[in-house]
């Protein structure tokens, strides 16, 4: 239904879309997730040409939107758009908001437009507000009206640009349930969202966008439970990462120790957790690896998942296979085993990997 090929959008000092390729079929409910500033909204706005792509093609039912001669108004009628900031027409009542475009553009009679409008308001639960004005409605109500307004044009696909980001947390639910109902009815939708649970439960596909491309495209199960890419995993788990590289024997131990503390504080870890982290660092690097000598470069990554409250410490070092936990009698090993919930060791690609969860 929609084919995106080599889409690129460049601004003078930023390139939000580098090379986007995607295929959207009828009935797809696609959630677009990813860190802010990675072109999710730009992608949506390029699809209905509110932004003009720098290069690339977007085919809608075979017609290229990027063609200069494209009849944009007609193509846009196939795509309903729901904005983060609702954008209801302030000078019209709610029902007029729903009636104006079908009457002006689809040639519907006033009665037809009114009846369809009221029907749609009924489905979003706002029939009682038909004669109100946008500024008399709450954010959640406005967004539901905006969805109804988009539906009034009988579009083939609905594009949602962060539909709940401007809403009070208490109003997010009402909007999401309307979108879920549409998904259940088989509406084709492309939803840019930060609501991970919603993306997981409602969509059949998820686009993870980063670095100006669709970094990972898969079912919610794939993306959320078994992300293929490191970046995706960090984003999905909402990990915060600290990396340190130690490459000489006389490294600045107190400096790294204090960076660990700062990182821990910033991540709102408990003092106990920070202490444990520092202890693991000291035991592994100072007591074992440096002590052994001729290890070369040691890389330490600390990942903190806010959601799960877990801290993973990953050590990566060169050299021949060396499992430092081998000597079970040693004090350092006993200490480490006491602190860590789990310890994993593997030797891969001529590198030692040690993962401790605390």
């Amino acid at each position: 239904m929609i084919t995106i090929r080599g889409l690129k959008k460049e601004y003078p000092n930023i390139t939000p879309l580098r090379n986007v390729n995607a295929e959207i079929s009828k009935g797809d409910v696609i959630s677009v997730i990813g860190p802010s500033g990675t072109g999710k909204s730009t992608l949506l706005r390029c699809i209905n040409r509110l932004e003009t792509p720098t290069s690339g093609d977007i085919l809608i039912d075979g017609e290229n939107v990027c063609d200069k001669k494209a009849d944009l108004s007609r193509l846009r009628r196939k795509m309903g758009m729901v904005f983060q900031s609702f954008n209801l027409f302030g000078h019209m009542s709610i029902i007029e908001n729903l009636m104006c475009a079908p009457m002006d553009l689809l040639g519907k009679s006033k009665t037809q437009a009114y009846e369809r409008g009221m029907e749609l308001l009924q489905t979003v639960g706002l029939a009682a507000k038909a004669d109100s004005f946008p500024d008399e409605l709450s954010g959640g109500q406005k967004q539901r009206v905006a969805i109804a307004r988009a539906l009034a044009m009988e579009p083939e696909i609905l594009l949602f640009d962060e539909p709940t980001s401007a809403l009070d947390p208490t109003m997010v639910g009402e909007v999401l349930s309307v979108i879920k109902r549409l998904a259940d009815d088989g509406m084709t939708m492309l939803i840019v969202t930060h609501e991970m649970n919603f993306a997981k439960n409602v969509s059949n596909r998820v686009f993870y966008m980063d670095e100006g491309i669709i970094y990972e495209d898969g079912t919610p199960q794939q993306i959320f439970e078994n992300p293929q890419n490191e970046k995706t995993r960090i984003f999905i788990k909402q990990l915060k990462v600290l990396s340190e590289i130690i490459n000489q024997k006389n490294f600045d131990f107190p400096a790294i120790n204090s960076r660990l503390e700062v990182f821990g504080r910033r991540q709102m870890m408990s003092q106990k957790q920070i202490y444990r982290m520092q202890l693991v660092f000291e035991e592994v690097v100072l007591q074992k690896l440096i002590h052994k000598g001729s290890i070369g470069e040691i890389r330490m990554d600390i990942e903190h998942s806010e959601r799960e409250g877990s801290v993973n410490m990953i050590f990566e070092y060169n050299g021949e296979k060396y499992d430092l936990l081998g000597d079970e009698e040693e004090l350092a090993v006993i200490t480490l085993k006491g602190i860590a919930e789990s310890i994993e060791y593997k030797y891969e690609g001529k590198k030692n990997h040690l993962i401790l969860s605390i």
Partner: protein, 547 residues
Amino acid sequence: MKIIKKVMCFLLPVVVGLTLVGCAKRITDVSQLAGQKIRVRTVSALEAVTDEFIDNAQKEHREPFTDTEKSEIIDISQLNGRSIGVITGTVFDVMIDDAFENVRKEYFESYPDLIIALKQGKVSAFLTDEPVARLLCFEQDGIRYLEKYVSRDDYAFMFPKTENGAALRDCFNEFLAEIRANGTLNQIEDIWFGGGESVKNVTYPVSPDGAETLQFITNSDAAPFCYVKNEKIVGYDIDILCRFCEKYGYGLEISDAAMASLIPALVTGKADLAAGCIAVTEERAESVYFSDANYEGGVVAVVADENTAGDQLGFFEGLKESFYKNFIKENRWKILLSGLGITVLISVCSGIFGAVLGFGVCMLRRSQNKILGGIAAVYIRIMQGTPILVFLMILYYVIFGKSDISPVIVAIIGFSVNFSAYVSEIMRTGIEAVDKGQNEAALALGYTKTQSFFKIVFPQAARHFLPVIKGEFISLVKMTSIVGYITIQDLTKASDIIRSRTYEAFFPLIVTAVIYFVISWLLTVALSRIEIRLDPKKRQGQRKAAD
């Protein structure tokens, strides 16, 4: 009681204040007469103004204005070192420098203003031509003129310095010589410089079809040479001119302008000839041709006369008399009425055309094309930076100088252009105040850019900018009061004409102010209705109220 009227006219606010004080004072005075106390309290504030009190008030308030010497002026030499009033653009300006030493000149636009200033002591004297002075002093109490001429002068008609102008002048000179020889000129003088109002009349020439029409320009506040009577411009000069046209088969079209505009009108070809008590000077002769003198006279000084006793009229009788004189006599209200029509015509047309033009300029200003946007920006800058009066005069005397276009149309063009510059900027601000998302939402629904602008953006912008434009329009209405400069008889000019006949400031000015207020108010109401129509909530509110 004449004094009351005068003071009321010129010092109304002060006197009303003082009147109340005086009233209180009087009540204290009579409080000894216990029996009458109650009666006195019921006397209205105005009736309580006694003669002595007014005299006191007058003395108190004349002092700041009076010149150094209090002695009565009997000779022109006494005027040295004082302030003398002069009408802008008249020959007296130069004459004062020659005839007096160390005087301060105060510039005025018309005789009524001068006379009022003289009576109030703001100037010690003003110079004018003897026949004018004679008539002024005949009609006005409280002024007199000094018999001795300040200078002798000849008065003549002016013609443009072109071939046609010279031909017309020669023809006119021939005519003048003829009527001087057969005594007609003396008869005309007797009619206009005498007191009999009933014989002072002119018959405008009826030109045969296809005859050339002379464009004549004059300043109508130079009675008896040239003034407005029964909504018609009449006078000594006009009488001669009409007879000339009649004899030579010319049609005649008279326009009325400020003294300072006469020569420019001739130079730019707006008029074929000009007159109205114009003295022959070398300076003027450099720009125009003069005919032979049609009147030889002199310039005299008019001074205030404190000894003349006016007819003793009561306060209300005085007001009644004044009202009659200003509005009823010679159907003067009709001048106001037609002036009002012109003012409304110019305001409404300029308002409509200006708004339409302003919208166009606004569109250009917002256009993607940098050149068009730049042109619009420059246009706006220039229009906002040019005083409307100067712009109007440039339009009339320079741009349309050679064309035969009605001054009313010039005024409408001028005000439309000026108004459009302001409207376009106000509209632009209003349009930019509409959230971008509104346009995007409309585009996303499938509206074209144009549809989205007119259907979604503009109506919302209108709600922002209409109240501002309303204010701007009201100020436009008031600004039209300057069109008198390009010979249009609008409301302000109408009141000037009345003042130039009655030499009273109170009624013509107050009534004019009230009329302007009423026009502005009515137009505000009309615009507010449009505003309500554009505001869906108010509209709905009204609908609900109606149900």
